[in-house]
Symmetry: C2
Subunit: 631 residues, 2 copies
Amino acid sequence: MPEFSVRFLPEGKQVMAAEGESLFRAAARAGVLIDGSCGGQGACSRCKVIIKEGKVRLAASGNLKDDEKRRGYVLACRSFPESDLVVEVPVTGLPAGLRTVLEGGGDVCGGGQGGLGSLSPLYRKVFLSLKEPAPGDGEDDLARLSRAIRKEAGVGELRPGLDVLRGLPKTLRDAGWKVTVSLAEGIGCGCAEIAEIEPGRVGRKYFGLAVDIGTTTVVAHLVDLESGRTESMKGAYNRQSVYGEDVISRIIYAGEHKDGLEGLQKAVLDTVNGLIREMTEELNIKRVDIKAAVCAGNTAMTHLFLGIDPTYIRLEPYTPAANKIPAVRAGSIGLDIHPQAWVNCVPGVAGFVGGDIVAGVLASEMAFSEKMTLFIDVGTNGEMVLGGGEWLVACACSAGPAFEGGGIRHGLRAVSGAIEHVEVAPGSLAVKYSTVDGVPPLGICGSGLIEVVAQLYKAGVIDRGGNFVFPGRTPRIRDAGEGREFVLVWPEEPALPGGIAVSEAEIKNLLRSKAAVYAGIRSMLKKVGLPAGAIERVIIAGGFGGYINIREAVNIGLLPDIPLDRYTYIGNASVKGAAMALLSRQARQALEEIAGRVTYLDLSADNTFMDEFVAALFIPHTDLSLFPTVT
Amino acid sequence: MPEFSVRFLPEGKQVMAAEGESLFRAAARAGVLIDGSCGGQGACSRCKVIIKEGKVRLAASGNLKDDEKRRGYVLACRSFPESDLVVEVPVTGLPAGLRTVLEGGGDVCGGGQGGLGSLSPLYRKVFLSLKEPAPGDGEDDLARLSRAIRKEAGVGELRPGLDVLRGLPKTLRDAGWKVTVSLAEGIGCGCAEIAEIEPGRVGRKYFGLAVDIGTTTVVAHLVDLESGRTESMKGAYNRQSVYGEDVISRIIYAGEHKDGLEGLQKAVLDTVNGLIREMTEELNIKRVDIKAAVCAGNTAMTHLFLGIDPTYIRLEPYTPAANKIPAVRAGSIGLDIHPQAWVNCVPGVAGFVGGDIVAGVLASEMAFSEKMTLFIDVGTNGEMVLGGGEWLVACACSAGPAFEGGGIRHGLRAVSGAIEHVEVAPGSLAVKYSTVDGVPPLGICGSGLIEVVAQLYKAGVIDRGGNFVFPGRTPRIRDAGEGREFVLVWPEEPALPGGIAVSEAEIKNLLRSKAAVYAGIRSMLKKVGLPAGAIERVIIAGGFGGYINIREAVNIGLLPDIPLDRYTYIGNASVKGAAMALLSRQARQALEEIAGRVTYLDLSADNTFMDEFVAALFIPHTDLSLFPTVT
């Protein structure tokens, strides 16, 4: 089969592609990230690219507009090279606006030890000045060393690597009994490995990697393990997206394709390794100076990251291979840090409440608080934890892709140009909006969509069920083919041919999403027999939460109607929790404790959830007494 | 440098040797074992070979007799090839008579579980029938499996390998939840590794390797871990001998030669791997079916086996790198069993009381006995342990090579043809003797030497200090150049030209050896404030003990004068203890407990030892009241 060279602009990355390989796949292989929520199925029409040079064969053309076609747009997933190509990836498809998923990450760990107890990193170098054995002193070298380590570093059982043991006698004596040992601890392990022993006092820097492996985005922090300071943080889209947008489609892909699991594992490793490369180049350090890693992901992501079969997570009773996974050597999975470094995965609770949530709960400090707290991380899946120091209950609901801009024709993730705030004037229906980064609008993101729905309801455009009921005639409301739509941005406005509109079907989609989340919260409250008012604090985590207008979210019935000052946004709590585990033994123990203590409420096995869901499909709810402040 | 082919008879092994390489080294490389106690220094004159074809250059000729030279004998260590060669290794140099070091090995473990508690091998396969997860059952696969294992096999913490975890969900379901798991435990580790998981009930055999790594000989048992039965046992000379006969010379070699440590490690691994090959071929099993190993060696041997620097074991205060060494993977050291199998080394006590003694103490059952017991393992080094269930004290003394037939012109290990029993008729001085295997005499072994000395003393040939004092004239006593000697075997007698004689200097050598052992025992008794009569049981271990005449050993003052029925011979207790550890968790815990409980008495730092040694240089002792039954 002939192969052609394909160069992707603006990054300039080049890759050889076979005749039968779509540009979507070729881009993924080249490390060029193209937006797309259907996993290359031609369904979402988001993987638009422009062929600048060369010829492609087009399969079914997808939903491109005529003027898009005129301007040279094709769908990358439907385009196959017939010659060498130069392909431009338009700005909407680039991971330009990962700001949200990174935001706030420096707070907890940036300052060092705040809230972590004393600094006791997963990997550290400890200087020791040993007493030379005197005549009659029968203690062996390892016992002498271990005793000193225990005294200095307060660790329990010690395990020396064979390599360390082999050279131990000479190293100790050549160094005049003054040595620096490197200790590698783990999550869920009371012992420490003596990973290295060096003569004298060694001050060289060493780093730890904290990663939040999200289904959509992967965020990494590089932490100086000596100072506790986060030196760099980067994010990227999870390259697994080419295999499917959500967890379920990836699990299916892993099971149904030969080498599917391997491909998914490689994709996420490539993503993380790419971030490692960026961060180490930025800081001008070596990758082998990264000596430990903590990864927090949802259960399926953790499985895929380690190459563990995730098949049964999606089948009743949703059984993971393991929630608590022993640490593995970086070299054994191909993570591009020191090959002997231990990679720890934060333990999870269940198939749909993973280590990312446990890490988030840690970072939120709710697990040791007397305040009854609700923790919410909403993406494609909504995961919620309720409780405090005494008990914790968690659940997960399928919120659908709406909150991430998916399943919406003009939906976008919260990238540059995504409409994030919207006001619709009652009466005139004039629209004011603002976009991420203040650039001309390219689409609408989840938080923007919530405001649109809230504003349209308030303006009387839609009723409580999301139906268009505006009595007057206005060009803002037009026929979208299958039902009506509301125009937010006219075609005349800059940058986006065709304009931006939201249809009745899309609004009902969002209502289903919000109903799932609210019903999950209600189910947990019912389970513990408490009213929403008992919630003293709501902590919103994740990229979505950064832009959300809490008032409007309450207005549409997504979040419970309690005083707004009880709401806090914590940013990417998952990577924060992972970074805390890098730095603190107390944090590592807490992760285990939390994972063990959370009671998982399986909503699919819970009849009340379906009732709650149906009741929550309205704005704000069928039971208005639950939303006293919403008029 | 030109290279020549050298073929060794009778085995027929062939090797290429450079002009400057001695036949001794070439033989070692070829895996041909030639006797020799000086490590190829030309001093012991034991590495005699016959050049059948070709030419060699001879360095200083060593102590060969004229008739030996006439018959084509050369010393292998002084001979360098000048052409292709055919070299015959005479029968005395072959490891023909390893009977003693193997003897009795089957007793403890051969019958299976005797004394070991229930069978709980280091590695085992356990069949499990799991309950399939029901709807609403949130337990993950690993937790479900672990719970079943804990119930069935009574192990503590479980650690799955990543490979096991990766395929776990599919394996469990494909197998209808009926699986066989392989569990690998360790010495000094409360946890078990889930090494493998297989569908259904798997009955295939799996084996464990128990090895006694002696300075001179290496003995291995292959144990069926399911039945507990020892299926094969083999012994060989430690191929490290070419680098030096005793521990000290090997430690020096390791330190002073580039790649010396690597060479020594390879030599002992080659030895053990050779035994593994022999045993697996005999049983027609695969080497990868050996799933666990326990090695018991003295501290230096254990260090060399793992490639750990042993340098400081021989320098005051005789500090090992480690007495307690974590298990390593077979593949990481090149032991030719399943590469993922754990190799456990029995923990030691001090630089000169190693895991072999701890294993021996375990096998002797003295550590949990109410009887005050003395455990003696005498080779080049004498190691002794005194005590019982309440306390244990140990010491080591340098007995010198005499007990192993070293440092004696006609000395031999206890191989075929070695004189082991001797009677000298008072008056006529007529000699009656018997040899190992009943073949014509080729030399005298340690136990034979003890009897010679005892008999010569009884016959009035020597006095209490070992001086020749026989008043009459007899051809049995002749001038040996430097002092006199007693002829045991006339030159006319079969097989050995020049006959076999023992000189005054050699007798005094033996007296120093026996004095060291007895002084060690006395030092321990003094330390605990008990008389010899308090010893209720003496257990003699090791190859030497198999032939020893206890009565005569008491007569010369080597062993304490207590009722002879308190003496027992246990054979190779080290390999027995190692095999017990293969089979029983209780035994493994006991090994740790013993190693931790033994108080080491450093004789070199103990003034009373020197006094005791000097007092013990006489037959039987300066203090005759210590030997009431010796007349």
